[in-house]
């Protein structure tokens, strides 16, 4: 049999996804049981586990991680259901859809910082209505952010995850033809929302289940948002564990590794609870169908859904607006609604220092994106030629790096990259980013790839074109738009990576994100504003290019404009 490099692409991509995660987990598992010869751990012991369990406040930390993962996901999902079921096709809906890309490109940390400034007792909203409405000339003593129940953190995560869940839902919806089904259930007398939930939601849910799992995993192990908005005494588990990892006392590394494994278990528990919730919810829905209730009067629910969604988008926009304003602010004292003066000082001072981090971010993100796109295209093309589609298990492999908490496997992975002496190397860093960009690129492209009408390719074959000619001259041009969108998504993901950049780059590759996070430690809102904006700018330019190029390319091809597709 002839060796065909292309046909090994699917295998390569799975290895690339599976290998680092498993290796990284192993690197955390061994020290959990006392094995880390570099630090003098050369016998197996349960001591780190015991030390972990003896940590004061551990139960609270775990509960906070579980609650934030589950509640933030549930709330965001309910809001998406509300919006899709009640408002599909309306102007409100189109506005929300238009807002998605810009909102998605706001980094998590920036959202959280803006959110904290917006709602804090001395924040923007209180400033706007004080002292006129409230009579406050001094900020009230509210507990926000850092409230002990983690409500600020859950709210922040909810509004940040909403656009993501909406995006994946929108991508999946066309395949299940919601309009026709919904017309059918409406004709059976169901209210629009309940009808949608009965007829469309179960099928949509099946499509977006893995992204939802990724959101749960993310929200239950998030570090940056938790640091900015989460409780401090004790903090959620992931924050605690990152602290242990940076403790000057190296023997804490054993404890940290045990913590990483515990974090994995907590995330798995969150997924397990969600899975149980799925069963219950489907039972309940079943009962509801049997009950025959039609819920025709759902105006209040429609309004609730609309106001919640609009509120979430407005909160994000205002958060961002607050940061922008801060970056230009002169002195801005409570309770003034706007700064006394505006100035370019912060920008002028930071300008020269922004160059290197921006350049590095573009370089690393660009390489990770290009490699990711090439690998994805190779895999998809191989699948097409071999007549296979990636099955369920392949999808799970792709999602693995998104579901296993970063903090749980990155440290182990780093150790392995170092043993091959790849420390600080650009290629190692690009590889580190690839683990996270590749799944997103693959996921955003694969469906579009497979729905392309096979008859185009059949026709080209009938005209005597080779498989490669078809790839270059039919598939690529026709799929230019989704390919570029996938690239923009991958680029945005790369720009946002903090832990991988820091760990694998050893602090020597400054990107806009590592700088933003380091400076946010200083709590200077003007600086945070500048860096958050720059951090947002790169992905935004990416998305812009992804829309502009196809428009130019398809200028003379009316059939390829988005409106007709």
């Amino acid at each position: 049999m002839r060796f065909r490099p292309l046909h090994s692409a699917p295998m390569l991509i799975s290895l690339l996804m599976l290998g680092p995660v498993l290796a990284g987990l192993l690197g955390a598992l061994l020290p959990t049981f006392g094995w880390l010869p570099v630090l003098g751990g050369d016998s197996l012991t349960l001591e780190p586990v015991r030390a972990l369990l003896a940590t004061p406040g551990l139960a609270r930390s775990i509960a906070l991680s579980l609650a934030s993962g589950l509640l933030a996901t549930l709330l965001a999902m309910l809001m998406v259901i509300g919006l899709l079921s009640a408002w599909s096709g309306t102007r409100l809906f189109r506005w929300m859809v238009r807002m998605i890309s810009p909102l998605l490109s706001i980094p998590h940390a920036a959202t959280a910082l803006g959110f904290a400034f917006l709602l804090a007792p001395s924040g923007w909203i209180v400033r706007m209505i004080s002292p006129e409405l409230t009579g406050w000339s001094r900020p009230p003593d509210w507990f926000f952010p850092h409230d002990p129940y983690g409500l600020a953190m859950i709210a922040g995560l909810t509004i940040k995850e909403l656009p993501f869940l909406l995006l994946v839902s929108l991508a999946a919806l066309p395949q299940i033809e919601p309009r026709r089904t919904q017309n059918l259930v409406r004709s059976l007398g169901y209210g629009p929302m309940v009808g949608w939930v009965h007829a469309v939601w179960p099928r949509l849910y099946r499509q977006i289940r893995l992204p939802i799992f990724a959101v749960i995993a993310y929200a239950s192990s998030v570090v940056d948002v938790a640091l900015i908005l989460g409780p401090t005494n004790p903090p959620p588990l992931a924050v605690q564990l990152v602290r242990w990892m940076s403790d000057p006392n190296l023997s804490m590394r054993f404890l940290a590794s045990a913590g990483a494994i515990l974090q994995l278990l907590v995330t798995l528990a969150a997924l397990g609870i969600w899975w149980g919730g799925e069963r219950m919810a489907s039972r309940l829905l079943g009962c509801l169908v049997q009950s025959g209730l039609r819920f025709q009067r759902d105006e209040w629910a429609r309004r609730l859904a609309a106001s919640l969604n609009v509120a979430a988008v407005l909160l994000m926009l205002l958060s961002l607006g607050g940061l922008v304003l801060w970056s230009f602010a002169g002195f801005w004292r409570f309770p003034d609604a706007v700064p006394v003066s505006l100035s370019l000082n912060t920008w002028m001072r930071q300008g020269p220092m922004l160059m290197e981090p921006l350049y590095n971010a573009v370089l690393i993100g660009g390489l990770a994106t290009v490699v990711g796109i090439v690998m994805t295209l190779a895999t998809l093309e191989a699948q097409s030629r071999m007549g296979k589609r990636s099955g369920r298990s392949a999808m799970v492999i792709l999602y693995l790096p998104l579901i296993v908490p970063q903090v749980a496997f990155l440290f182990g992975l780093q150790l392995i990259l170092l043993t091959v002496n790849a420390s600080y190397a650009l290629w190692a860093l690009v590889f580190g980013h690839l683990i996270f960009t590749l799944p997103y690129i693959f996921l955003s492209l694969s469906d579009q790839w497979h729905v392309l009408d096979p008859r185009y390719m059949q026709m080209a074959t009938a005209l005597g074109r080779s498989a490669w000619a078809i790839f270059w001259r039919v598939r690529l041009p026709m799929l230019l738009r989704p390919i570029l969108t996938a690239a923009a998504v991958g680029f945005a993901v790369s720009i946002g990576q903090y832990l991988p950049t820091l760990l694998i780059g050893g602090g020597r590759w400054e990107t806009i994100t590592t700088e933003a996070v380091a400076l946010s430690a200083g709590g200077n809102r003007r600086l945070i504003g500048v860096y958050a904006l720059m951090q947002m700018l790169l992905p935004f330019v990416g998305f812009l290019i992804a829309t502009l190029i196809p428009t130019l390319f398809y200028k003379d091809r009316r059939g390829m404009t988005p409106a007709d597709r």
């Binding site: 190296l250 440290f411 200077n524 600086l527």
Partner: protein
């Protein structure tokens, strides 16, 4: 945020836990040098640097890249280091890379990990901004360049070693020339005179003030540097015999000191910002809280901080400073070279430049950074003296004579115990 650079130490520790990439040439060079200096064991260890022969140091430094690990949370300081880097590059051909760290303890653990991994040269840290516990632990473990290099730097002659005992005794630990002085610090408090009319001048007065103004005072959560300093200030002030704190901690004197301290904190906490259920992260968050009017009294280790923040529009120009009548903790900060630094000569060139009257005067300028100089200004040549005379200290900066006595830092062993106990008392609520 923030996933903040908390993880940096761990990561870097692992990164450097691996064998250095050595070219055959450098191995050969090292072997030759080692043979040449075999008779001088200490110098071989030190990588054969003779600081007294300064031109030779400059020569060797040319073309080196110095990774300067320094806290990167303040843009003014970052900009200052940038400026210093550009000067050193222009004058001496040494490239400076500022590795912005979130917590110097991370750098310490990185160096420890390098030692553990047997990385005896080509280390990742060339120069580190350091003092106190971090210096003590590196010195104790023998992880600093094992030679007294700092006093031989040409600009060290201007250092005010006589007038400032903290330049040679860092938190009770003798520096032994293992670190070169960079700046001075003394705890001072500031408030907005437009809002606050009366300020407390001692720890006990502070407690009464807090009771009268609930929710308007806060301190950063230890082990944050400034939060820990606040604990030390209280411990010194409340102790019957403060002198026990300058010796290593023992069980019995620990108990007498900590009982008083925690009794005080138990009384204070109900009146803190957010009733002490949340704490600010660090000195910058404290400043933000004051700027927002959430708290009324904040404190800093850098006497020029408040004036600089006014210049930066971060604080209103009605902010003023004050200090405790019995004196406040004062110390110095330094730069040190790890035992396995890759660019030792370059690091010395940078340390020497940082100590120069030019760099020190610029550093003291509140519109640049506002960090007090370590130099004895009277010993300077006239044109350098003029640099300092030209400085405007700013409205919110206490003049040296307005500061009370500088209390010495307690022995490093105290802090470990107090921080640990603080966490078990208040870490979980």
């Amino acid at each position: 945020m923030i996933a903040r650079p908390l993880t940096a130490g761990y990561s870097k520790a692992l990164i450097t836990a691996l064998p250095p990439r050595q070219t055959r040439l450098t191995v050969l060079k090292k072997a030759v040098l080692a043979a040449a200096f075999a008779a001088l064991p200490s110098m071989v260890q030190a990588g054969a640097v003779n600081v007294k022969d300064w031109p030779a140091v400059l020569e060797k430094a040319k073309g080196q890249t110095v990774y300067f690990h320094a806290w990167g949370g303040a843009d003014r300081i970052n900009a200052y280091i940038d400026w210093a880097g550009a000067k050193v590059k222009g004058r001496y051909g040494v490239t400076i890379k500022h590795v912005k760290v979130g917590d110097t303890a991370n750098v310490v653990s990185q160096i420890i990990a390098e030692k553990a991994a047997g990385k005896e040269d080509g280390g990742s840290v060339d120069l580190v901004w350091i003092n106190g516990e971090n210096f003590a632990s590196l010195k104790e473990k023998g992880l600093l360049l094992p030679m007294s290099w700092a006093p031989d730097l040409p600009n060290y002659q201007f250092a005010d070693v006589k007038g400032k005992p903290t330049l040679t005794t860092d938190f009770t630990v003798p520096t032994d020339g293992l670190e070169s002085p960079w700046g001075m610090a003394q705890l001072s408090f500031y408030y907005d005179s437009a809002i606050t009319k009366e300020v407390p001048k001692s720890a006990t007065a502070l407690l009464d003030w807090a009771k009268a103004h609930p929710g308007r005072f806060a301190y950063p959560k230890p082990p944050d540097f400034i939060g820990s300093t606040f604990l030390k200030q209280l411990a010194l002030e409340l102790a019957d015999d403060p002198s026990v704190l300058s010796r290593p901690v023992t069980e019995e004197n620990y108990k007498t000191v900590s009982d008083k301290l925690f009794a005080y904190l138990d009384a204070l906490h109900p009146y803190l910002w957010r009733e002490a259920k949340a704490f600010p992260d660090n000195v910058s968050s404290l400043k933000n809280l004051l700027a927002d009017g959430e708290i009324e009294i904040a404190f800093t280790f850098n006497p020029g901080d408040a004036s600089a923040a006014i210049a930066n529009d971060e604080l209103p120009d009605t902010v003023r400073s004050f200090t405790f009548e019995g004196g406040t903790i004062g110390n110095s900060h330094f730069v040190a070279i790890p035992f396995n630094a890759n660019a030792k000569e370059g690091a010395m060139v940078l340390a020497n430049f940082l100590l120069s009257p030019e760099a020190q005067a610029r550093k003291q300028d509140p519109s640049i950074w506002g960090d007090p100089t370590v130099l004895d200004i009277t010993s300077l040549p006239n044109e350098d003296k003029a640099r300092f005379d030209a400085l405007e200290l700013g409205v919110a900066t206490l003049k040296p004579e307005d500061f009370g006595p500088a209390l010495p830092e307690p022995h490093a062993s105290w802090m470990e115990r107090l921080e640990k106990d603080w966490t078990s008392h208040y870490g979980v609520q």
